[in-house]
């Protein structure tokens, strides 16, 4: 029931994922951040098999860091996305990673870019896209309401429409979502959309 989606706006790209960590019928965590910051200007929202998701995204993050240390220059978003795809493709016929992801980045010469990468190593450069059951609803919403070069506020309106649709129509809809942004100033968390908080402490006397 995990959902990841993203879109490109005017000088920025957004990645949104739900934040539920589910095991069988139990929701273990409602604030599980699934969007990894790969480097200063790259984001990777990763869903799928829990172990694979963390293992693979950390593996990619560390390889991107290693490249930067070895060569003194960071990888471009396109190169990082293709590298990730290659890793998935090589593992696919040995020991596949069951993870889907949206990779977003900002490069000085290219601006913002977004990549769709599914578990069988399908890589597409897109303006907008999504994976998971939620994608069944939000892809058509994005087709209808997406415009090129939207401002952050307009893009967030569209993101909120998508989240509302997933909440309304998906049978086991995740309650909370996290939105991260990448632009010339870097990759960072933009906002959360929560309907459920983690509980803590005994009820007050």
């Amino acid at each position: 029931m995990e959902t990841v989606f993203g879109l490109v706006g005017d000088g920025f790209a957004l990645v949104v994922t739900d934040t539920s960590a589910v095991q069988s019928i139990v929701v273990q965590k409602t604030d599980d951040d699934k969007i990894m910051v790969l480097d200063s200007h790259k984001l990777m929202g990763c869903t799928g098999e829990k172990g694979d998701r963390v293992q693979f995204s950390e593996f990619i993050q560390k390889n991107i860091a290693l490249y930067h240390f070895r060569n003194g220059i960071p990888l471009s978003t396109a190169a990082a996305a293709n590298f990730t795809r290659n890793e998935l493709a090589v593992a696919l016929r040995k020991n596949p990673y069951q993870t889907n992801m949206m990779i977003a980045g900002w490069d000085k010469d290219v601006g913002p870019s977004l990549y769709y990468l599914d578990y069988i190593a399908t890589l597409h450069k897109l303006e907008k896209g999504g994976l998971g059951y939620g994608a069944y609803f939000l892809l058509s919403l994005m087709d209808r309401y997406y415009e090129k070069n939207m401002s952050v506020d307009k893009a967030l309106e569209l993101v909120d429409k998508c989240i509302a649709e997933v909440r309304a129509r998906l049978v086991v809809a995740p309650p909370n979502f996290v939105i991260k942004i990448v632009d010339k100033d870097g990759a960072r968390t933009l906002a959360w959309r929560k309907t459920v908080e983690e509980m803590s402490g005994p009820p007050s006397e």
């Binding site: 060569n71 990888l75 190169a79 293709n82 590298f83 290659n86």
Partner: protein, 249 residues
Amino acid sequence: MSRRYDSRTTIFSPEGRLYQVEYAMEAISNAGAAIGVLAKDGVVLAAEKRVTSKLLATTKSTEKMYKIDDHVACAVAGIMADANILINTARLQAQRYTLAYQEPMPVEQLVQSLCDTKQGYTQFGGLRPFGVSFLFAGYDSNFGFQLYMSDPSGNYGGWKAAAIGANNQAAQSMLKQDYKDDITREEALQLALKVLSKTMDSTTLSAEKLELAEISLSPQGEVKYKVWSADDLNKMLLTFGITQPVEES
């Protein structure tokens, strides 16, 4: 007396030298010279051919210049058979990078990768080092035009102008005198050919004894690797005054 330390390639001598590596460099200093000059709009490679015969099919292959990838070329000096192995290795490394990253391999990373291979032969395996020095000329979007020189030890450096092969020290000091930053490609061609002609052994110079190549950018922004034909090279030698026109009798 240090002879007993030079048959094993991968051990130090008591003075802390690697004899096999030094002997490899000795082999290269007897080979045909190659010169590279970095200009602000390109890189020029000029080399002296040692195998000159009318029977050579020169249009089909070059002796000293090789293309590694669309954006990198090299000039070699030393044992040709060794060079072929390394050139193939370099080509493989460049393509592997492009396969993984879908981008051309940055020039320094390519040189470094090849030099790591060369270094291996000085430390383990018991195989002799490669008797080749390279001049790499290339372009990438990170650092623009670049010139690198590498030797059998696996050391490499980025240069504005460099020479390898026979008389390379004389060539290097000539380059040091006449090179200026902001040199254009046209001036670099002239400098490379002039220095090469001065350091070559032969008394008469002609296009048959030389190879000339350059890396530049097309107006569309694509990297171009060009090797001069013998005719164009002869014309250029005349224009620069390096050869005199043949007297008509």
